[in-house]
């Protein structure tokens, strides 16, 4: 198993060890892909599409982590470990990490300033996570 992930794993750390569960994995992938699909629906408000794509990215990134036998203690870590869970680079995980920070500012400070560019790029990055996951 990945040494980088093992180093992040332990009591009080960002990851906890927890045996993989095939049903949970399938559920996360299914709901992630469904929301990713809906995020492409241009009749929805841009903010809604952002929420759908962001939550899809979270589900799929969490699935990647659960598949390897880890659970996350917080939301942002699932994106930061994508280089280790799925071998994805900064062009994917940094985009998701940025969207995570934007989502927090939107949820907690009422400052959701999303535009077409960001939502389009979030969808591309989320799609890359979905494609990197083994079926």
């Amino acid at each position: 198993m990945s040494e980088a992930l093992d180093n992040l794993c332990g009591p009080g750390k960002q990851l906890q060890a927890e045996a993989t569960d095939a049903q949970e994995f399938a559920g996360l992938v299914r709901s992630g892909m469904a929301r990713l699909n809906d995020a492409r629906n241009t009749s929805l408000a841009l903010e809604s599409r952002f929420d759908l794509a962001y939550n899809a990215a979270h589900s799929l990134s969490l699935a990647a982590l659960r598949r390897l036998g880890y659970r996350a203690s917080n939301r942002y870590i699932v994106f930061q470990v994508l280089p280790h869970t799925l071998g994805l680079g900064p062009e994917v995980w940094r985009v998701l990490d940025k969207c995570h920070n934007m989502r927090n500012r939107g949820e907690y400070e009422g400052l959701l300033d999303v535009d077409e560019r960001l939502v389009a790029d979030l969808i591309v990055a989320t799609q890359a996570v979905g494609e990197a996951l083994p079926a």
Binding site: R94, R117, A125
Partner: protein, 183 residues
């Protein structure tokens, strides 16, 4: 060496770190560190058997030196080099936020605004990754098209209005080119 120390004034560095980051010779760096400490520009303290050096924020020329470093050889240069492969697609780029206002700490993000009609976040993050590691700071780019900028200025967008009024460190282009093109 000044770029290392005055580019990250909130933390101290041990001598070997400065030598590695400044990509310079041991003897030369050691002599410079001693001379700058003597002149009051650096603070020296010993932690165990490590000699730590930090930019002295109380030095009378601290603000000037830091400004000089930021503008000439510090993070601006590193970011400019990182973005250079994308330059043909960039209308303007600048650092804003706490770094440009000189209120940053070693853990502050470096906020960068990039104006481009064609770039995607994936391109920008791919290009900036090396700079993130070299500066040991998170770079937070915001990407707008010239039309986005014009629309936000016209709509009195709170974020952009605030950014445009703040101090900036220009990486590419300047205030005039941006305004002309977005008008």
């Amino acid at each position: 060496m000044l770029a290392v120390l005055f580019g990250n004034p909130a933390r101290s560095f041990y001598a070997n770190e400065v030598i590695a980051l400044a990509q310079s010779g041991t003897g030369a760096v050691q002599r410079e560190l001693a001379a700058l400490t003597e002149a009051g520009l650096l603070i020296f303290n010993k932690q165990g058997n490590q000699k730590h050096y930090q930019a002295n924020a109380a030095a009378p020329v601290f603000d000037e030196l830091r400004g000089l470093v930021l503008k000439t050889m510090g993070m601006a240069d590193v970011l400019r080099v990182a973005l250079a492969p994308l330059a043909a697609q960039i209308e303007g780029a600048f650092i804003y936020g706490s770094v440009a206002k000189q209120q940053d700490t070693a853990r502050s993000d470096i906020d960068v605004m990039i104006v481009s009609a064609s770039l995607a976040y994936a391109d920008v993050f791919g290009a900036l990754e090396s700079a993130t590691h070299r500066l040991d700071r998170k770079v937070n780019p915001t990407l707008y098209t010239p039309a986005d900028i014009a629309r936000r200025i016209a709509g009195d967008n709170a974020f952009l209005t605030r950014v445009m009024k703040q101090p900036k460190i220009w990486l590419m282009g300047n205030e005039e080119t941006l305004h002309v093109r977005s008008a």
